[in-house]
Symmetry: C2
Subunit: 145 residues, 2 copies
Amino acid sequence: MSTFTPARVTAAQESWELIRRLWTGNFPRMAALFAEFDLAKQQAFALVHLEPDQPKPMSELAASMFCDASNITGIADRLEARGLVERVPAAHDRRVKTLVLTPEGVRVRAVLAARMAEPPESVTSLSAADQRALRDILRRATDGA
Amino acid sequence: MSTFTPARVTAAQESWELIRRLWTGNFPRMAALFAEFDLAKQQAFALVHLEPDQPKPMSELAASMFCDASNITGIADRLEARGLVERVPAAHDRRVKTLVLTPEGVRVRAVLAARMAEPPESVTSLSAADQRALRDILRRATDGA
DNA sequence: TATTGTTATACTCTATAACTATA
DNA sequence: TATAGTTATAGAGTATAACAATA
């Protein structure tokens, strides 16, 4: 165990610490991926949060990204300047602007999402039985959530 | 499954997606914790990366945090201004400056680390058997790493 | 010559508060 | 009045490049 956990650890605490380690261990891989597309981290996440043919209100994106709505303005500006996203006013409420992936945005998002979904070696190197058991337990854990 | 994963998913891919969901689901809790101590995210992480009575060279901290060394200057400045950290020149190499937790830094770090190590409800609500199985699989996954 | 930490620069992200246009 | 998005502001993090002190 590490720095981040006390001396006596429950199975839940140790699991959480190992999950943290698994996740943060992937920072370099993610950073390299974003750099490859010359996208800032939040731009990449915003892109992946958008789905093809599913206009998403900016306020909704802010909620998904756990940030204030005012931040989305700038992020959308930069993605729009790159031609990856378009602002489309909502029909039912003229205050709302939705974000829509452009064809280029759809392409970039597909690659980003696929690469981000690739499990790290720590997971793929588990036995098939462990992989299934891990999935089943995590399904139970995230069931209500 | 979500946005982030393709239609046909292996157990490893789904596990990875569920881990992502578990981790990002904790953003609000972490944000609230950092706000409680009036610390920016990276300041909190830097603090937790430091251990009592273990002077850490700034360059080493940069490596742990996967960021450029130049960023640590500002982060250390702000932690030092708060009285949580001190810069102590290394004896063996006068180019190196180490960061050391002050007594107050030790106290704050202890609380931060403990709270960050608390597993989310998704994990604690698993059966005891599932918690142990999860821990064992994750141990095997992160074994080499 | 190479390395550690600093500085300068330019950019991105962050929340808050004030504004606009709608509702 | 209330809400969606924008703008302005101030602060924080980010990498790059140039610099000082030291090795």
